[in-house]
């Protein structure tokens, strides 16, 4: 009780003296602000990418790929397996009573960047009929859906922004044929998406197998039924994964790099801020040597002194974190970033702000600890000497 009272008295003294030490105090606040702003805005890239990729992931959708394929691109699903897959349990049926199963074949073709004319590969995705039942949130913003059997494409608006010749009516030359873009659409994704009829893609690109089968489940719980049915029938050689799992896998590399860079730079900035905070607090403590020695002499305990200095450090770091997160939000939230071929809007989320707050706490705690220990060890004799 006595210690707590001492602590409060000391903390009040510290805080009341802030205007007198504005420079040193500002150093702590600004250091933390910069560290948190940098960390939060770097992480906002990963968060934005995740948000856009996972935007409309549904627990009702699942994907079947070959058992041994590390990703759907290396997987192959034979055409003659289609009826067997349609008969699997747990799959939702459409208005006509047919199971909602869409076979997907992905090929990579070239597109030219609008900005610098460089060629980049983009996925051209062939989907068999039933696509609109499987992906009802696909929203055509211009033109119409492609017609099965014709060399027609629909391209996401992201493609239109990034690459040439993806507007409605544009002609594209691929595999010795002329393809027409008949529609544009919006669909959450970090990359440009182009869809066409699945069987047209297979014949045009000389393939005889699909990459994957996408199914709409009766309910999220039906996933287990489907998985068990596949296990019971090893000759199909297929495994099932949630849509979220596939998307997360696709994001892994991008996220890994973004997170590594963010935490690497963020940690160095935090280190610099910690050193700066420690230095300022040392200066503050040094300036109060006599005062502290007198307090010790009149019976103040070491523990409340340590606690009060650390608390002051943390209390100064917190506004830094808030300002830092705010700066990151003002500068970068919603900004279009396009690292590593992806394109997405950065997102400064509340959880990132909280993370920044956590880092600030750490900076305040570590930066305050050593000066606090020095403050607690000021020899009482110092009080007697005039300086």
């Amino acid at each position: 009780m006595k210690l707590a009272r001492q602590f409060w008295a000391l903390l009040r003294m510290n805080l009341e003296a802030i205007p007198a030490r504005l420079g040193l105090v500002c150093t702590i606040v600004i250091g933390v602000t910069c560290a948190v702003a940098v960390l939060v805005s770097m992480l906002a890239m990963g968060a934005g990418a995740r948000q856009e990729a996972m935007g409309n992931v549904s627990p009702n959708r699942a994907t079947l790929t070959s058992v041994d394929a590390p990703s759907p691109l290396q997987s192959s699903v034979a055409q003659d397996a289609a009826p067997l897959i349609r008969d699997l349990p747990g799959i939702r049926r459409d208005a006509q009573g047919k199971p909602i199963v869409v076979f997907q074949a992905t090929v990579f073709v070239q597109a030219r960047s609008k900005i610098n004319g460089a060629q980049t590969g983009f996925p051209l995705i062939g989907m068999t009929p039933g696509f609109t039942d499987y992906q009802p949130e696909l929203h055509i913003t211009a033109g119409r859906m492609y017609t099965p059997g014709l060399r027609e494409l629909i391209a996401s608006n992201k493609c239109v922004r990034q690459y040439t010749d993806f507007g409605v009516g544009a002609h594209r030359h691929m595999r010795g044929g002329d393809w027409v873009v008949v529609g544009n659409f919006d669909l959450a994704s970090t990359v440009c998406l182009v869809f066409a009829d699945g069987d047209t893609i297979l014949s045009a690109f000389g393939r005889n197998t699909y990459n994957q089968a996408n199914v709409m489940l009766q309910s999220p719980g039906a996933f287990a039924d489907l998985a068990n049915a596949l296990k019971a029938n090893p000759s199909l050689h297929l495994k099932v994964q949630h849509e979220a799992e596939i998307f997360a896998q696709n994001m892994q590399q991008l996220n890994g790099i973004l997170n590594f860079v963010s935490y690497f730079v963020g940690a160095i900035m935090a280190l610099a801020a910690t050193i700066g905070a420690a230095n300022s607090l040392y200066a503050i403590v040094d300036g109060r040597r006599r005062e502290l020695a007198i307090l010790r002499a009149v019976g103040f305990n070491s523990l409340p002194i340590v606690a009060s200095v650390v608390s002051e450090s943390i209390l100064l770091a917190l506004p830094g974190a808030l300002i830092g997160a705010l700066v990151a939000w003002l500068l970068f939230n919603g900004l279009l970033a396009s690292p590593l071929g992806a394109s997405f809007h950065m997102a400064v989320t509340p959880s990132l702000a909280l993370l920044g707050l956590g880092w600030a706490l750490g900076i305040g705690l570590i930066g305050g600890l050593l000066p606090a220990l020095r403050a607690a060890r000021v020899p009482v004799t110092d009080a007697m000497r005039a300086t």
Binding site: G23, L24, C26, T27, I30, G31, T33, C34, A35, A37, V38, S41, M42, M45, L73, V107, F108, V109, Q110, G117, A118, Q119, T120, G121, H173, R175, G176, F205, G206, V265, I268, M269, L271, A272, A273, I275, G276, A278, N279, S280, Y282, A283, D286, G287, L331, A337, S338, P339, L340, G341
Partner: protein
């Protein structure tokens, strides 16, 4: 010069504080060095790659390889200097965990003189490869790794099967070459004709062509010409110069330019503020000392220079430490970008930055110290 000891003792008046300031400035400059060095280094690396060497590959990802008959058609395109090709297959030596890629070529002068980007080989080694159908060239690294020597015969196991159904390929080591990325120990060089005659699938095809054009400025135009020439066939091509490919790979980092600049800006703001307050604090604490110096006859100017000098020394020293640190960790940070080294210009730029930081932060406290009135200072006013 005679002020140097005074300068030095001023710096180490409070060793703990000075050490922390040094550390903070060093960390900031290390970060600057890594970020800016990465950006400049990548730009350099891209500019160094060849614009006149075009890589011709199959247009669709994972598609069938290109027919070797394209070789003559490529050679007949106007503006082409020379064309060659490479193929290859992946094998393993003894254990599945020891992969060895066999780069299969037709030994020609091109590999000696024109494509040092791939590997460097002496004419006599290339001649030996030409004369031995199942010959192979190895690097010193791979030789050391598996204990291979020139004259040895080595078996590789592969999923690329021979026409008799066997997956075992035997090579006679006839010479050596130097990989442009030493230490990788990933591939050996063999004869294309040996591979193509023996394999059962994909006969008469190659992985890609290397086309060297006469005028590097026309690289984009020539690439389009090549792709158009094969546009309506069942084996469409995708062509790009090595520089264009490098640019594409590096665009990721280019896109982060704005972010890098923001980070460096934030570091600078925090640093300027921190050092200024530290200097102010120091000057305030040392007011009596400066008063004594003035009493002893030091003028305003020497005092001013003394303070600025202290700050300059600290900043330059710390920046040197930080930039040295950045240079040290650079090979690790730049691991995913081959051929990256710390550009000297970044070090120079960093040092200029350190001087500027020192001047900006030292002038206000130095002015304060210089304008000190002796009477006031000694009286503690």
């Amino acid at each position: 010069m005679k002020y140097l000891p005074l300068l030095w003792s001023g710096i180490w008046r409070k060793p703990g504080r000075t050490a922390l300031v040094l550390l903070q400035v060093a960390v900031a400059f290390a970060l600057f060095g890594v970020l800016q060095g990465m950006k400049t280094g990548v730009d350099r690396a891209v500019a160094k790659t060849r614009a006149d060497l075009l890589l011709v590959t199959p247009a669709d990802f994972g598609g069938t390889p290109l027919p070797i008959s394209y070789l003559d058609r490529l050679r007949s395109i106007p503006g082409m200097q020379s064309v060659d090709f490479a193929d290859g297959f992946l094998g393993t030596y003894q254990k599945p965990t020891q992969p060895v890629y066999v780069l299969a070529i037709r030994p020609s002068e091109l590999w000696v003189t024109l494509v040092p980007e791939m590997f460097q080989v002496a004419p006599k080694d290339l001649e030996a490869l030409k004369n031995t159908r199942d010959g192979a060239l190895i690097t010193a690294d791979i030789g050391k790794k598996y204990g291979w020597h020139v004259g040895d015969r080595i078996p590789l196991t592969s999923t690329t099967l021979q026409s008799d159904g066997s997956g075992t390929w035997s090579f006679q080591i006839v010479g050596t070459f130097t990989d442009h990325e030493p230490g990788e120990a990933g591939f050996i060089v063999g004869n294309y004709d040996y591979l193509d005659q023996a394999r059962v699938l994909n006969k008469g095809t190659v992985r890609n062509f290397y086309a060297i054009i006469a005028d590097p400025k026309r690289a984009a135009e020539m690439s389009d010409t090549i792709d158009r020439a094969f546009g309506n066939s069942s084996n469409e091509t995708k062509t790009g110069s090595l520089r264009e490919i490098a640019q594409q790979q590096m665009r990721a980092i280019g896109d982060l330019n704005f972010l890098i600049r923001s980070v460096v800006g934030a570091v600078l703001v925090a640093l300027l503020f921190s050092i200024t307050t530290m200097m102010m604090q120091t000057i305030r604490e040392r007011t009596p000392e400066f008063a004594v110096l003035k009493t002893l006859g030091f003028g305003d100017r020497p005092i001013f220079l003394l303070v600025v000098g202290e700050c300059l020394l600290i900043c330059i020293l710390a920046a040197l430490v930080g930039l040295a640190l950045a240079t040290g960790v650079f090979p690790y940070a730049g691991k995913f970008v081959p051929g990256l080294s710390m550009p000297l210009s970044v070090v120079g730029f960093g040092l200029v930055g350190a001087v500027l930081v020192a001047l900006i932060t030292a002038v206000p406290p130095a002015l304060r110290a210089a304008r000190l009135q002796v009477v006031d200072a000694l009286a503690g006013r």
